[in-house]
């Protein structure tokens, strides 16, 4: 915040100079006072805010460049404890191309599973899934018969073949 304020104040003379340049350029073009005032105001605000925009973008870039490959890959799941580990286990268990039926305790878990488990495809109840996943909030909980707990609360079982 202090850096932004300092940048805006230090940059002000540049903003004023550019605004004056726009004012003179519009004057030379015979644009009229209304256009001069509006055009100069727009240019001044835009130039005055430029250092803030640059600092914000540079700060975010600096933050993002330091992220580990794992953090980048799982950015959408970082705030859900255990999600990344469980998905890794499920990927290792369910072959690509198989289908699964998922019962999860939250939509974030379901959505993250749908995107992360591709090209495995989720199907609804009665869709003849190859695998059944039950994802409970806490360790243990209800589980399908014969299921294995891959991660705390995450149960998976291969569906019986007809």
């Amino acid at each position: 915040m202090a850096l932004r304020l300092l940048a805006v104040v230090a940059w002000l003379p540049i903003g004023v100079a550019v605004a004056y340049g726009v004012w003179k350029a519009l004057d030379r073009e015979g644009a009229g006072r209304v256009m001069q005032a509006l055009g100069t105001g727009i240019a001044f605000v835009a130039i005055a805010w430029l250092p803030v925009a640059a600092i914000d973008l540079a700060a975010r870039t600096r933050h993002d460049v330091r992220l580990s490959d794992r953090a980048v890959e799982n950015a959408g799941a970082l705030h859900s404890k255990g999600l990344i580990h469980a998905i890794s286990q499920l990927r290792a268990t369910i072959p690509a191309g198989d289908t699964y039926q998922l019962s999860a305790y939250s939509s974030r878990v379901s959505f993250w599973a749908y995107t992360s488990l591709l090209p495995r495809i989720a199907v609804g109840p009665g869709g003849g899934a190859d695998w059944r996943i039950v994802w409970n909030r806490h360790s243990g909980g209800s589980a399908p018969a014969g299921a294995t707990e891959l991660a705390p609360g995450v149960w998976v079982v291969r569906a019986a073949q007809p």
Binding site: V22, K24, L26, G32, A46, T61, G76, L118, G124
Partner: protein, 458 residues
């Protein structure tokens, strides 16, 4: 990462080639020097055309393999081999020398563009809608070889807005194909490139109608707006929607002012891209063409209506696919059966002032959009009081009706108003605000005109 960047660059060169062909057929450029001056708008034309074509290709069962993309873009680029249209260049020639102040503003826009692109190339896929919906669909297209009904019409994926159109996922899937990998970081560049291209395109599209200093100053004001900076590289569709809509509206305004049919064709193309980007684009396009048809006057109404119908027709293949695969196009959010039910609507009247007030508040936030809306409002009032009412009414009508269509969605939509305001209000104002920003130079010129017939434009 370098390989992925190069792959994405090749994909975008294909889009650029497609746009260059269409741009030449429409008289935007004749010589290589003129092409350099219109690279940014030509690029946007290419993404719009290739994106729509890619959506159709997916519906037709193709998987957007590299050879298909190259062949499709080559076909679009071949439009440039058609004989150039008579009637001279559509845009005035780019001046060989610019005033130092204009060069300074161009440099500032260039700096913002570079920072935006670097930021986007390193950004992780962290936005909920981006990883859960937009990029997820692009991944599914790439990994499953096209539109797999198991995902795009699958019951478990029902909440992922399956009815939303495919332009952004298709364009991102093309990026993944050319990268040879699913790089969820580098792919953010794709949407950021559209925003960057808009910033450079606007002064070119308005050349000859507004002073260059005001055009570049306004482009810079849009470029440094914190909300746009946040959204440009976030992997969401709101910024691309705003980009295509602003291009469509500016081309429409220029067609109204000059009557060149090429500009109406561009309006239809960008409007079709709006329709192919997000479901909200449908009322936006309807509103734009409604205003254009009214403003066109008796002699040109039929042309404007035909362009609107042509744009709307481009959405038919996707709607047919949804219908054929049994996807619920209402997504449960908008109860279409009840939108004319007086009892239902009357019971929700309280949502209108709250929703409208919140949207206006978001649009006026200086911490999000700086002074774009107040400056545009002031210019509209000054223009309406002076002699240039047509421009003021055109811009105000389009912006207000776009906002009204969003308020309508909030009014009739099933989710709670609190949910809407918390999750979407910040983003849905992007299109009307960027539109006002795009028209700021035009509004300044209109505001400066004291009496009818007194031309002060450069």
């Amino acid at each position: 990462m370098i390989v992925h960047l190069l792959g994405l660059a090749v994909a975008n060169l294909c889009f650029l080639a497609a746009g260059a062909g269409i741009g030449r057929a429409l008289g935007l450029w004749r010589s290589p020097r003129e092409l350099v001056a219109v690279l940014a708008p030509v690029y946007l034309i290419g993404v719009a055309a290739a994106g729509i074509a890619a959506s159709w290709a997916l519906v037709a069962g193709l998987d957007l393999a590299r050879w298909q993309v190259v062949a499709g873009c080559a076909l679009l680029a071949a439009a440039g081999l058609l004989p150039a249209r008579a009637g001279g260049p559509v845009l005035p020639p780019w001046p060989r020398t610019q005033a130092p102040i204009v060069r300074a503003l161009q440099a500032a826009v260039g700096l913002v563009v570079v920072l935006l692109l670097v930021d986007a190339a390193l950004r992780p896929l962290a936005e909920w809608d981006a990883w859960a919906m937009w990029t997820m669909k692009a991944k599914a297209i790439t990994l499953l070889g096209g539109l797999d009904a198991g995902v795009f019409a699958g019951v478990p994926y029902h909440h992922l807005h399956l009815d939303y159109p495919l332009l952004l996922p298709a364009v991102e899937a093309i990026g993944f194909r050319f990268m040879g990998a699913i790089d969820t970081q580098v792919i953010h560049l794709q949407a950021a490139l559209l925003t960057a291209a808009l910033l450079v395109s606007l002064p070119r599209l308005l050349a000859g109608r507004v002073p260059a200093a005001v055009a570049w100053g306004s482009a810079l004001l849009i470029g440094v707006a914190p909300s746009l900076i946040d959204q440009a590289g976030a992997g969401l569709a709101d910024a691309p929607l705003a980009v295509f809509f602003a291009m469509a509206a500016v081309c429409a305004w220029r067609w109204l002012a000059e009557g060149r049919r090429e500009l109406l064709l561009l309006t239809a193309l960008f409007a079709a891209a709006v329709l192919a980007t997000k479901r909200e684009g449908t009322p936006f396009v309807a509103v734009l063409f409604l205003v254009v048809i009214v403003a066109a006057g008796r002699g040109r109404r039929r042309e404007a209506a035909a362009a609107g119908v042509a744009a709307l027709a481009t959405a038919i293949p996707w709607q047919l696919w949804l219908h054929a695969n049994g996807v619920d196009t209402s997504n449960g959010e908008i109860p279409y059966a009840k939108v004319v039910d007086p009892g239902y609507l009357a019971g929700r009247l309280g949502r209108i002032p709250t929703g409208a007030g919140s949207l206006v508040w978001h649009a006026l936030q200086p911490g999000a959009w700086l002074v774009i809306v107040p400056a545009a409002a002031l210019a509209v009032v000054l223009a309406a009081r002076g002699g240039e009412r047509r421009t003021a009414v055109f811009v105000a009508a389009v912006a207000c009706l776009v906002l009204a269509s969003t308020v309508w969605a909030y009014w009739v939509g099933r989710p709670s108003l609190h949910y809407y305001l918390q999750h979407s209000a910040r983003r849905v104002v992007t299109t009307p605000v960027v539109l006002l920003g795009a028209f700021l130079p035009v509004l300044c010129v209109a505001a400066a005109r004291g009496r009818p017939g007194r031309d002060r434009t450069s």
